[in-house]
Structures are given as structure tokens and as C-alpha cells.
């Protein structure tokens, strides 16, 4: 292939044209994993045999004259909380060690139906709880731009796999920023679709009213291809929306001319790194050069989003994680009676951050505190959603940095949970409102990538992708490769 990191669009085109084979592409990526993943630790499982078998099926179909799928032969990495029948799902947790699900997530099945090749399962913060991928029970994933720093989280392994070309595309999940924040910190594109756009069937639940599956890729075109494949109604998920899915790639060349980009300047006034703000202002100038117009908007309740999020998300998590009790799957710590078996299994099986969130979530739902915390947070969530409804009367998309700082150092925030939670300040509002968000490589600060985030109206991913595509036509941040220690296969 041309270059160390061929794009998904390029791979699919060449496989469909029989210029190369899905099997050859898969082998190249498996070789790259073998060379590069030691020291980065993006993968928990490499599914080499299954991937090669799948690749040979794609090649055989093409040889038999059948039409190539839009992702024919494209190697994809999957966050380890999306189920694949017969392949271990750990969620980065000891409590699911050895678990092999009897079904496959709809998002994964749809990618495979489009011709994609799943090459492995990626590391993550345990049960998607974290912003650094340091909370995995198995390994700590490192940022390829500086291995002393975190890749972001919780979909850190997926972001690293794409950033380094170990995979052309990846799936992640985004409950409070878990696709967009690692995408930003690793210099790749990440899309959190509208709530309900992608089926959650086969996805281990963290906070059910916020969780959404989405793609990571190196270009907007690649992310548009993946989004077209995975979005759409699935009757196996009652929150899956019956809203038509456009061909996202077809709309990309429409450009950004005439679109209004709203910036909540007062929300960005404090706590943002000066280099991140400088990169953001430059990105706005680049968008204006592409014909967009920047207007000021207000999100008066956004400063309350982190507090609201950590009440709503932990409450839902405390309920969802009740199912891990040593009875139906996963770890069981033997004990004399049922109640002690539950308690000891959960204490041994869950890591510190998961237990902390179960405690917080159970507290805010408990008698005497429900109204003051959970109910009030749900009301503030309404106010945050109304803020966006008001903003979208004055603009077509909202823009802000994806994160307040570039990648932080490993261990820098693990001792102070609140500091880690504040990392999510610019990403949680979209989850609370249920709207789509796109993070794009938006420049560099001290050699580290930072993200430009665009938020859109419900089910209007197309406009986000159009603007993102126009931005990438005029910038080359997404073409920068992280430094390597291997020979650049």
C-alpha cells in the first residue's frame, strides 16, 4: 500500500479494484500490530485467525464477481465492550475475565457486512469509566505522540490503533466524551453520533441514557464511510431511532460555505490552556477561509454539565453494573452465603474507579438524597438541552475545543478523581443533550495534537461531517504521523 497508514477509503477502493487483496491488507496490519503495539498496548486481543478467515471470504466474494462492500478489506479495531460472538469481552475489567459472549453487537455485524475485517479488541478504562485508559485492569495504553502521556479515554486503545495505522478504522463508545477526547489527544477523527443513531445491542451498558457507539478514523471521509455503515434502526435496541441515514460520504463535497458556526465564548473564558485556545482560534480562521461564518452563542448552563453528568451517569451505572454479581457470567469469589458472594465478587472484580462511581451513583439515588441530587440533575439536564436548542436557532453547528489541555502525563490525575472528571468539561454537554459531536485533529501544542470539536443538531451528523471535510481540505493536521520506533511498514 502507499504509505504507512493507508486510509479506509483508499483500502476499500484498492481491494474492490483487485489491486490488492483483503488478506494482504489484513496481514500488513497484523504485522504492524506485532511491531508497534509493544510499548503502546492498544490491543487486549488480536483476532488474527478470525480476521484472516474473514478477509479470505471477502476476497472469495470479489473473485466470484459479487459487489464489494463499501468497507471491503478495511481492518477495524473494536473497543472491548462491544461483543463479538465467541471472542472475549472484558470491558477492561477482571469481573468479566474469560467471558465469551454468545452474540455479536449490531454495530460490529454491520461493519462486517460492509466488508470490514475486525482485527482485534482494544484496551479501555474499565467499563468505560475514565478519561485516560489508566483504569484498565489489564494494561496501561500510552499515547504514541509521547509515551509518557495518556492517550485519553475511555476508548484510548481504539484511538491509538487508528493513530498509528495498526487499524484503518475503530469503534469506540462515547458516554461523556470517550470517543472524542481520545481522538483529540491522539490526533484522529472521532464521531459521537446522535443518541439513538447507532444500536446499542451487544454493547455493555455504562449509562444507558448517554451511551452511544461511534467510529474513529484518520480522515472525515473514513469516518463518514463507517458512520453510513453502522447508523440506522435496529429493533433489538428500543432507543434506536427510526430516522433515515443518508450516504454521509456523498454529502461531503458540499462544503462549508454559508454555514454559521456558533462559539460559546463565555464558556471558554477560564480553565483552557493558552495553546489550546490559540489552536482553536486558528481553526476558526481556517473555517472562515472555507466560507463559514463565526457567530457568538451562549450556553449558560454548560458550566454545570460536569456536575450534572457525574450524578446522572453514576446513578445509571450503579443500576447497570448490578448485573455483575457472580451468578450468570464472569468472576465468582466463593463465599458461604449469597450476600457475601455478591459483595466479595464485586469487591475483587471491580477496580477502584468503578467502585467509586457505584458508591456515588447509589448515594445519589438513595432515600433522602434522590430529590436533591438525581432529580435536580435531570432538571439541569433539561436546561442544558434547551441551551443547545436556543443556540441552534442562531447557528448550524457549535464549535469549541474538544479538551481543555493536550494529553496529560500518565499518573498525573489518577490520585484526584475530580480533576480527572473536569477533563470532560467540553465533551459531556453533547451526551446530556443527546446531540452529535465530531472531534477533528485541530493543530498541535508543544508537539501534541489537540482537537477541534463541532456539535450539531439531533440527527444532523451530515453537516458536522461536511464542515469537517472542508476543514481537512484546507489543513494537514490529520496527515501528521506520530513518531515511530519501528521501520515504518
Amino acid at each position: 500500500m502507499s504509505g504507512a497508514r493507508p486510509t479506509a477509503a483508499e483500502i476499500a477502493r484498492r481491494v474492490a479494484a483487485r489491486e490488492t487483496s483483503a488478506e494482504a491488507v489484513t496481514r500488513e496490519h497484523l504485522d504492524r500490530i506485532a511491531r508497534r503495539d509493544a510499548g503502546l498496548d492498544a490491543f487486549l486481543t488480536v483476532t488474527a485467525d478470525r480476521a484472516l478467515a474473514q478477509a479470505r471470504r471477502v476476497d472469495a466474494a470479489l473473485a466470484a464477481g459479487r459487489a464489494a462492500g463499501p468497507l471491503a478489506g478495511v481492518p477495524v479495531a473494536v473497543k472491548d465492550l462491544l461483543d463479538i460472538e465467541g471472542i472475549a469481552t472484558t470491558c477492561g475489567s477482571r469481573i468479566l475475565e474469560g467471558y465469551r459472549p454468545p452474540f455479536t453487537a449490531t454495530a460490529v455485524a454491520r461493519l462486517e457486512a460492509a466488508g470490514a475485517i475486525v482485527i482485534g479488541k482494544t484496551n479501555m478504562d474499565e467499563f468505560a469509566m475514565g478519561s485516560s485508559t489508566e483504569n484498565s485492569a489489564y494494561k496501561v495504553t500510552r499515547n504514541p505522540w509521547d509515551t509518557a502521556r495518556v492517550p485519553g479515554g475511555s476508548s484510548g486503545g481504539s484511538a491509538v490503533a487508528v493513530s498509528t495505522g495498526m487499524a484503518a478504522l475503530a469503534l469506540g463508545t462515547d458516554t461523556g466524551g470517550s470517543i472524542r477526547q481520545p481522538a483529540a489527544l491522539c490526533g484522529v477523527v472521532g464521531l459521537k453520533p446522535t443518541y439513538g443513531r447507532v444500536s446499542r445491542y451487544g454493547v455493555v451498558a455504562f449509562a444507558s441514557s448517554l451511551d452511544q457507539v461511534g467510529p474513529l478514523g484518520r480522515t472525515v471521509e473514513d469516518v463518514a464511510l463507517a458512520a453510513t455503515a453502522i447508523c440506522g434502526l435496529d429493533t433489538a435496541d428500543a432507543t434506536s431511532a427510526s430516522v433515515e441515514v443518508p450516504d454521509f460520504r456523498a454529502a461531503l463535497p458540499t462544503g462549508a460555505a454559508g454555514l454559521r458556526i456558533g462559539v460559546p465564548w463565555s464558556f471558554l473564558e477560564s480553565g483552557v490552556d493558552a495553546g489550546v485556545m490559540a489552536a482553536f482560534r486558528q481553526a476558526l480562521a481556517d473555517l472562515e477561509a472555507a466560507g463559514a461564518r463565526v457567530v457568538e452563542i451562549a450556553l449558560p448552563h454548560a458550566p454545570h454539565a460536569v456536575a450534572t453528568y457525574y450524578i446522572v451517569a453514576t446513578a445509571e451505572a450503579s443500576s447497570n453494573l448490578a448485573r455483575f454479581d457472580g451468578v450468570r457470567y464472569g468472576l465468582r469469589v466463593p463465599a458461604g452465603d449469597l450476600r457475601r458472594m455478591y459483595g466479595e465478587t464485586r469487591d475483587r472484580g471491580f477496580g477502584a474507579e468503578v467502585k467509586r462511581r457505584i458508591i456515588l451513583g447509589t448515594f445519589v439515588l438513595s432515600a433522602g438524597y434522590y430529590d436533591a441530587y438525581y432529580l435536580r440533575a435531570q432538571q439541569v439536564r433539561t436546561l442544558i438541552r434547551r441551551d443547545f436548542e436556543g443556540a441552534f436557532r442562531e447557528c448550524d453547528v457549535v464549535a469549541m475545543p474538544t479538551t481543555p489541555t493536550p494529553a496529560f502525563r500518565l499518573g498525573e490525575k489518577t490520585a484526584d478523581p475530580l480533576q480527572m472528571y473536569l477533563e470532560d468539561i467540553f465533551t459531556v454537554p453533547a451526551n446530556l443533550a443527546g446531540i452529535p459531536g465530531l472531534s477533528l485533529p485541530g493543530g498541535f501544542v508543544g508537539g501534541l495534537p489537540v482537537g477541534l470539536q463541532l456539535l450539531g443538531r439531533p440527527f444532523d451528523e451530515a453537516t458536522l461531517l461536511r464542515i469537517g471535510y472542508a476543514y481537512q481540505q484546507g489543513t494537514d493536521h490529520h496527515k501528521q504521523e506520530p513518531p515511530t520506533t519501528d521501520s515504518r511498514g
Binding site: A238, A372, T382
Partner: protein, 96 residues
């Protein structure tokens, strides 16, 4: 805001079926108090008459109410730590 003591954490841990070590109980009490102090900001907002938002779904989508094949019992039991006679087995529930 409420004072969070180790006893508060013990109560909540019992509700959540979590056995915690002494260090975890002390750390969680401190951290829970810290997070709740941060969350105080939402107490000052006027939420009179504001509907609580429990979901971001545009609308629920229901499939046709027709019987479909479900997971075969042996597959559903395959991952269980202990199963017999087509059932999940657990330690003693009563009389402990």
C-alpha cells in the same frame, strides 16, 4: 451539603452489594464528599417547573409483538460460574 462519613459509605456499599476494605471506605468517604461539594453548584439553579430529562431518545421504537427465537438455554448458561440441571446455581440464600 451532607457530611459524608465512613458510615455513609458503609450504608451505600451495603445497598450496592460491595464489600470494601478499610482503605477504600476512608478514601471513598473523602472523595465522595469532594465530588458532592463540587456538585453543589447545581443546587443554586432555579429549576422550578423544569421537567426532569431521563432520556435523550427522540422516541422509543417498538418492534412488532411477535415471538422470536431466544438464546438457547445451554448457551445462556455456558458462561455461568456454576450451573446444573439447566439452572444457575448460587450459594445458600436463607439461613446464613
Amino acid at each position: 451539603m451532607p457530611t459524608v462519613t465512613v458510615e455513609t459509605v458503609d450504608h451505600v456499599a451495603r445497598l450496592a452489594h460491595l464489600s470494601l476494605t478499610a482503605e477504600e471506605r476512608a478514601a471513598f468517604a473523602r472523595q465522595l464528599e469532594q465530588v458532592l461539594a463540587y456538585a453543589e453548584s447545581i443546587q443554586a439553579l432555579d429549576t422550578t417547573g423544569v421537567e426532569p430529562m431521563s432520556h435523550a431518545a427522540a422516541r422509543e421504537t417498538f418492534r412488532e409483538d411477535v415471538v422470536r427465537a431466544s438464546l438457547p438455554r445451554e448457551e445462556a448458561l455456558a458462561a455461568a460460574p456454576d450451573a446444573s440441571d439447566g439452572l444457575f446455581r448460587v450459594p445458600r440464600v436463607l439461613g446464613g
